[in-house]
Amino acid sequence: MALPLPPGLTPAEVAFLCEMEMVTVVPRQRLESLALIGGPTQPLRPPHRAPLPLWLALLLKRQRRANILPPPWLLPSSLERILKQETEIDPQGFSSPPPHPYPIRAVPSHTDTISPPFLPSSTADAPPDYLPYHWLELGEILLEACSDDLQEPGRVRTLLRDLREVRMAKMRGSTKDLQGGGVSSLNGVGAMEVSEGRAFIVGVMDGLRKLGSSRETARREREEDEGAGGGGVSDEDEEMGFE
C-alpha cells in the first residue's frame, strides 16, 4: 500500500538540509574550535570572520554572540540584477546556478563531483548575481533570524518574493510544451522550488505517461518487429530508454 507521505521532501525538511550550508559570521566572543561531525570549526577570535554551518551561526546569533554576514547574492543590488535577468534578458529559462568554484581540468580530481550542499555557496566570498541551490530557504531564514544584519531587509524580502513568483510561473509553464517525458531544463532551480513544484510536475508527467503508454508499447513492438533482422545495437538502446 502507498506510503502516507507524498514523495519528496517537505519544506521543513528542505530547510533542515539548508542549515548545513556554510555562512560567514563575525564573532563577538571568543570560542574555541568545536569538533563537529562535519569537521572541526575554526576557532572564533572576535574581529576576524569565520565560516560556520548555518545552524550554529543561528544559535550564536540568537545568543548575541555573533553577527551573520549575508552572502553577496542576497544584497538588494545583486537580487535586482538576477530579477532583471529572469524577467527581461531571459524570460524563458532560469538564471544559472553559481559556477563551480574549483576549475574543472582535464585530469579528474575529487573536487569535480562536489555538488551544491557541500560547496560554500553562501559564505561572504560566494559569487554575487547567482542564486545557489538553497537560495529561497536561506534568504527566508536569514530574513527572520537576522534582518538587522542585512542591507534593506524590506527590499530583500520583496525581491525574494518577486523572484519566487517569477520562477514558479516558469516552472508551471514548463509543462505546457511537455511531450511524453522530459521537462524543459530545470537547471538552476532551488531545493525549495523543487519541493513545491514536484507534486504538480510529477503529476502532469505521470498523466501524460499513462495516456501515452499504449502508444509507446505499440511503437516499441513495431520497432522490435522491424529491428528483429537488424543489429542488436538499437535493441540495447531501447532497453536503456525503458528503465
Binding site: M1, A2, P6, T10, P11, A12, A15, E140, I141, E144, A145, M168, R172, G173, T175, K176, L178, G180, M192, S195, E196, G197, R198, A199, F200, G203, V204, G207, L208, K210, L211, G212, S213, S214, R215, A218
Partner: protein, 190 residues
Amino acid sequence: MSYYDIDAILTDAQKVPTTFELDIPSLGYLDNAAGHTLKSGTRVDLPLWLSEMLAVSATATSKTPSRSLVTLDLPAALSTRVMNALKADPKSVDLRALAQNFYGLGERLLELFEEDELCDVLMDSWRKRAAEISDHASHVGQGKGAGGGVGSGDSVEFLRGLDEWERDLFRRCHDSGKAMKVWMGEMKKK
C-alpha cells in the same frame, strides 16, 4: 496500479457500448427481454471489465473461424463530438459529467483501440487543463479572508468539471503550495 485501487475499480466499472456478434440464449435480460435469446447485433452498455474480457476472448468452435464474441465501440464520453470540443477549447468541457474517470477510461480504451488522434487530443487537453488546475490550486482560498469564497463563478464551474485524475492533481498541487505557505508562516513566528 494496485489491486485495491478504488479508482481503478471505478474506472473498470464504467459502461462501454458493446455489440454482440452471436445469439446468446437466455441472456436477454441484458436487453430488457428476460428469458429470451439475446440476438446478435444487439447493442448493450456493459461495464468495461466485462466487455473487455468478452472482446478479447474468441469463440472456440472447430467449424467457424475464430471470431470475437462482441465488438466494442467508443463510449459517448470519447466520441468525436467530445474530441472536437476538447480540440476547440479543453478548458470549457465538463469532463466529470462525461465520465467520472475520464482519463482513466481513455487510458484503458487506448489500450484496446489504436487511435492516434484520440491519444493526441487527450494528452493535449490533459496538459492544457493541468496548467489551469495549478493556477486554480495556487489561488484557491486566497480570496477567503476578504469573503470572496473560492473564486468567481467561472472557476467554480471549471473545478466542478474535473475528473478524478485532475482532482488528484489539484489536491496535490494545493497541498504542496499550502505546505510551503505554512513553512513560511512558521518562519514568521520564530
